[in-house]
Symmetry: C2
Subunit: 200 residues, 2 copies
């Protein structure tokens, strides 16, 4: 709580995401939405889709705030249900399609794990322009090059997240330097990829 | 937080559920599990299955604590994805089956909404003995009779939850009496249903 207020005060232009993975019956989702978007100054929140439209919609009623819906996550367990397949459609594709009925790209983004870069082409067929939040670069083994190759749009369209490689960069007194270095590396790599695409 | 400590201190035999609907990558789920089961004295937590096994397993490593996995929820949005169907199997059935590989009925329960009583026969084919947490009686329109008819086992096997009919029983000064009355009614109805089944 202190951290997010501090960031927003010092760097109001930074887009702050609550990776809370909520999703509950309507009136509870409404309370969560108020907590993250009104009481706290988050710009976006990750939401799990399992409970469907009425569990997500309360988060979509705030101006300039975003829902980032879990579609295809970076963890191994993603294989258990997200690839469940009805006819020719995977569950994560159904989530991408169905949720288009709830809001457009001005309110909605999707989580697609960097470890699933091979699926980004299919994801982009359904959501060609939406921003994607891409976790799993770094500690989880996802490749930034692959992600950019298959997932980048003309406006970039990617929010790439590296957490553990940074926050666990070192357990010694040099943590601040090691973490900064790690963050800098990802940033630099992203900058080059954007230049190649002539976005900057 | 104060409430749950108060309940556990005054009535240690009461089974307290955190209806938190969590489910995150492994190390985050581990932190949530510690918060709810170690820092706080909850007996069980509801967990969303979308991210699969490694998002749920961290909650299953505590003695005498339960995961209550969302299978078929009581809200309208349940129709969006929970009935997604691969061959002859619905997603919620896949969740019930797949999760049997993670833990047995000594650690796992399932959420099945009272508004889905017609599906309880199918649910019981897959999990004949597991306890089910059944929300949606009362304000959401679920029938306790129907739930008992299709979902009750020889040991009862049901935790029936009525929230809004109780906490919103009255907005006047008589709230305490109205709420107590509402709770008493559900309890009495349940007692009769248990007697009919010769469980008490």
């Amino acid at each position: 709580e202190k951290t997010v207020f501090y960031i927003k005060e010092k760097y109001p232009e930074i887009f702050v995401i609550a990776d809370a993975k909520r999703g509950d019956i309507g009136n509870t989702s409404t309370q969560y939405a108020k907590a993250f978007f009104e009481t706290l100054p988050f710009d976006a929140i990750t939401v799990a889709p399992y409970m469907g439209s009425d569990s997500v919609r309360p988060f979509l009623t705030f101006d300039d705030k975003f829902v980032i819906l879990l579609a295809l996550t970076s963890n191994v367990g993603a294989n258990d249900f997200q690839y469940f397949k009805q006819n020719d459609e995977y569950l994560f594709e159904k989530v991408l399609k169905e949720s288009q009925n709830w809001a457009g790209k001005d309110k909605m983004m999707y989580v697609v794990g960097a470890t699933r870069a091979e699926m980004l082409t299919q994801v982009r067929k359904i959501v060609p322009e939406h921003f994607l939040l891409v976790p799993g670069v770094g500690a989880q083994g996802g490749s930034l090059q692959e992600v950019a190759k298959y997932g980048m749009t003309n406006d970039c369209g990617l929010i790439v997240n590296s957490s553990r490689a940074i926050i666990y960069a070192s357990s010694d007194a040099d943590f601040d330097k090691k973490a900064a270095l790690e963050a800098k590396q990802v940033q630099e790599e992203m900058r080059k990829l954007l230049q190649e695409k002539k976005i900057s």
